[in-house]
Amino acid sequence: MKDLIKPADISRASAGLCRIEPGDLAPLPPPYEDFNATVLKPLPADKVKALETSLDDTLAIGIPKPATPEEEEELVRRFLSGLTKLFEKKNNWTFLQPLLLSMEHCARCQTCSEACPVFEMSGRKEIYRPIFRSEVLRRIYKKYLTPGGKLTAKWTGDIDLNWTAIARLAELAYRCSLCRRCASVCPIGVDNGLITHELRKLFSQEMGIAPKELHEKGTVLHLRAGSSTGMNPLAAKDSVEFIQEEMEEITGYKVDIPWDVEGADILLLHNAGEMLAWPENVGAFAILFQAAGLSWTLSSEAVGYDAVNYGLWYDDVQLSRVAARHAHIARRLKVKKIVLGECGHAHKALTVIADRLLTGDLNIPRESALVTLEAIVKSGKLKFDPRKNDFPVTLHDPCNVVRSMGIVEPQRRILRKIAPRFREMTPHGVDNYCCGGGSGFAIMSGYNFTDWRNLVSSRKKFLQILQAFESEPPQTPKYVCAPCSNCKGAIRDILGYYDAEKRSRLYYGGLVELLVNALDGMKKPIILFGDEPSWT
C-alpha cells in the first residue's frame, strides 16, 4: 500500500504530489469503458520548465516559477500578509465569522470526504480530499500567525511554509468546485468549500494571482467592455437582434425584445454567454415573457446585459463592483425587480451574497427566473402541450440555485407539467452533485484543465446522467435539462468529450426551451436532437 500524502507534504519538493494513472479514475459503464484507462495528456515540457506544475497533472492558474530566492521569499511574505488580512475585520468582514468558525472547529472526522465528487471520482487522490487544503491552511495559520505557533507546531500539526507549498496551494484552490456538498454533510457545520473560497481570495486580493479566465478575461473584461464575453453594448444589441430573427425562423413566432424600458416591472439579466452559445435560451425567454404579457426589459448599458459575476468565485472586491453595477443599472431603469435568467452563480451572487452589500436604493428586489417561469405556467395565460416534450428528460440541479438558495421545487413543478417522461437523477435536489464546472471551472480552459474537468470533476455528473437514462434504449434521444449557463457549458463538454450524443443520444439545454417547445401555437419545435426536430 502506498504511503498516504499528508498535509505537511505540500511543502516538500517533489515532481508531483498526485498523478492519475490509467485505471485510477472511477470506472464508467458501457459503452464508455474505453475511457476507463484515459489519463491526462502530460503538460508540455516548456510549461513544466517555466510554471509551477508540481501539484498534479494539470494547471488552472499556471504560476511562473520565481526567478530568485529573494523573489520566493517575497512571495512567501506576501502570502502571510494576505493570510493575516483574511482574519481582519477591515479586510474580510464579508466572510470573517464563517471563516473563523470553520477554521477552529473541524474534528477531522472525514465525513466530508465521502461527499466530494472530485475526491471520489479521482480514485480518492489524497490532495483532492476536502479537508486536505483546509488542513494545510489551518496548520500554516496556527504555526505562523498565532502567538507561540512555532513552538506548538509539533503539537497542533507541523508544516513548513515555502514557495512550493504556496504555489501548490494556489493551484489546489482550483481543484474544488465550491459545490459545498462537503459542508452540507458536516455534522459540525464546517465548510471546506468556504475555506477554499477564502484561499482563492487571499491569492487574488493580496497577491494578484487568479486564473486569467476569471480575472483578466472575466471580471476585468466585464467591467471594462461590458461583458465577460467581450461584447460591448452594440455587439450585445446586435446579438439579440440576430436572436429575434432566429426565433422567428425557428419557431415561426415573431418576438420583439425590449431594451432599456424605464419603469418596466422586470429587468431580465441573462448570462451574456447565452447570447453567443445558446441564443435559443434568450429567445425562449423573450417568447414566453412576451406571450405572457409581462412588462420587462433588457439593459443595453455596459455590464447590465451580462448577469455573470465571476467575483463570486475568487474576489470579494470584484464581486462587489459587478453587483453594484447591476444594482445601479436596475435603479436607473426604475424597474420593480431584477429577474435572473438561467445562470446559477449569477443567482447566488446578486440575490444572496450581494444582499448584504447593496443598501438603500440599491437594494432592488431580485428573483429567480425559475420562479417567474413557474408563475407564468401557473397563471394559465399560456397553454402548453406536454405531448410535444415526449422524450426522456432529467434535471440537473445547479448548486448555486438549489443548495445555496433553496430553489428546488419550482423547476420540478414545471417539468412535471410539461415533460411527461421526466425522471430525477440520484441523488438530486439539495443533495445533488455539481456539474463539475462550478466555481469557474466551466470557463477555465488553459493548458489541459478542460480535460481534467471532463475526466475528474464532471465525471460524477456524467455517471448520474447515464444512470438517469439507463432504462432507455441508446437510440432514443434524451434531454438533460440544466437551467444554468455554466452547468450547460460543463455538460456540453462532457457529452462532447465522451462522444455521448453518438453513443447514447444525449442532448442538453435549459428549462425555458422545454417550455417554449411545448407552447401552443409554435409552428416548429425549438428543441432539435441534432438535425432531428423534437416534434413534427
Partner: protein, 312 residues
C-alpha cells in the same frame, strides 16, 4: 481539601472565561455576507423537508416570512442528542463517536443534577425526601451510563484514530492527547464508581463542598480514594480544557448553524442589519493586489463603486 476546591474553582473559571470569550468574540464580529446552505431548518416543515426556501415564492420580499422554531427544534434535538448527521453520513464512526459524546453530555447532566441536589440540601430539603431521591436516581443512572459510554467511546475513538489510515493521516499529537486525556478521566470516574462511590454520594458531597467552599458538613474530601481524587482533578481539567480546543464545537455549533449555515435573513430597508452593513462598508481595507487599489484610506464602499485603471 481546600486545595481541591481551589483547583476546581480555577478550572471552572477557565471554562467560564473561555466559553464567554468564544461567545463574546462571535457576537462582536461584523455581520457577514450570507452563506447559508439548504435545507435551512427554520423554514416551515413542508419546505425544510426538501430544502426549499422563501425564495421559491414569486415576489418573496412582499410576503411575511414564516419561520418555524418548532421545526428547528425537531431537527436539532436528534442532531445534538443522537448525532443524527453522523449516523446518516458516517455511520461507522458514529458507533464510537456517539458513546463518546453521550458520555460527555451525561457528565454535564450529572454535574447539573449534583449541583441541583446540593442546592436543595442547602435549602433544607430532606436528603431522604422524595425530591432528592428522584434526583439521586437520575444521577446514578446518568452517571453509570455516562462513565461507561464515555470510557468505551473515548477508547473506541482512540482506536479509530490509530487504526484508520484516513483519520491517522490528519491526526496531530494534540488529537491523541485529547482522547487519552478524556479516556483517563472516564476510566478514573468508572473506577471510582466501581470501587468507592457507586451511588455518586461522595460526588454530591464534593459539589456541596464546592458550593460552600468546604464549609458544609459533611463535605467530601477527594483524597479519600485515589481514583476519586484523580476524577476530581481530571474532570476539572477536562472542563477547563474543552473550550480551549476545537472540541468547543460542542457549544459553538450553535454559531456554525445559526450564524452561517442557516443565516438566511434578507436585508430589509431600515433594519438593524442594513445599518450593520452600512457600517461594514466604511471599513478601510488594505489588500495589496493592484486591481483592488486599496490604500487604507478608501472605504469598501469607495472601492466597490470604483473601476480601477485596468478596468477603465
Amino acid at each position: 481539601m481546600m486545595g481541591y476546591y481551589i483547583f476546581t474553582y480555577l478550572c471552572l473559571a477557565v471554562f467560564a472565561a473561555a466559553v464567554l470569550w468564544r461567545i463574546y468574540r462571535q457576537l462582536t464580529l461584523p455581520a457577514h455576507v450570507r452563506w447559508e446552505i439548504y435545507p435551512v431548518q427554520h423554514e416551515p416543515a413542508a419546505k425544510a423537508a426538501y430544502g426549499g426556501s422563501y425564495m421559491e415564492g414569486m415576489n418573496w420580499w412582499k410576503d411575511k416570512r414564516r419561520r418555524s422554531t418548532v421545526n428547528e427544534i425537531l431537527y436539532m434535538a436528534p442532531e445534538i442528542g443522537l448525532m443524527r448527521g453522523l449516523w446518516k453520513e458516517n455511520r461507522s464512526l458514529w458507533w464510537f463517536s456517539f458513546p463518546f459524546h453521550l458520555g460527555l453530555y451525561l457528565m454535564l447532566v450529572v454535574f447539573a443534577l449534583l449541583l441541583l441536589s446540593a442546592i436543595l440540601l442547602l435549602l433544607g430539603f430532606a436528603e431522604d425526601g422524595a425530591v432528592l431521591s428522584i434526583i439521586k436516581g437520575f444521577t446514578i443512572a446518568a452517571g453509570w451510563i455516562g462513565v461507561i459510554a464515555g470510557a468505551a467511546g473515548s477508547l473506541g475513538m482512540l482506536y479509530r484514530r490509530l487504526a484508520d489510515r484516513d483519520l491517522r493521516a490528519y491526526a496531530t499529537a494534540a488529537d491523541y492527547f485529547n482522547l487519552v486525556f478524556i479516556l483517563l478521566f472516564f476510566v478514573c470516574a468508572l473506577l471510582t464508581a466501581l470501587a468507592a462511590d457507586p451511588f455518586f454520594a461522595a460526588a454530591r458531597l464534593y459539589i456541596l463542598g464546592l458550593l460552600t467552599a468546604g464549609a458544609a458538613t459533611p463535605a467530601y474530601a477527594p483524597g479519600q480514594s485515589v481514583p476519586g481524587a484523580l476524577t476530581v482533578v481530571l474532570g476539572s481539567l477536562v472542563a477547563a480544557y474543552i473550550p480551549l480546543t476545537h472540541m468547543s464545537h460542542m457549544f459553538m455549533k450553535f454559531f456554525l448553524y445559526h450564524k452561517v449555515k442557516w443565516d438566511d435573513s434578507p436585508l430589509t430597508p431600515g433594519s438593524p442589519l442594513e445599518s450593520a452593513v452600512k457600517q461594514n462598508l466604511q471599513y478601510r481595507p488594505t489588500w495589496k493586489a493592484a486591481h483592488i487599489e486599496a490604500d487604507g484610506k478608501k472605504t469598501w464602499q469607495d472601492i466597490a463603486s470604483s473601476a480601477p485603471k485596468e478596468m477603465k
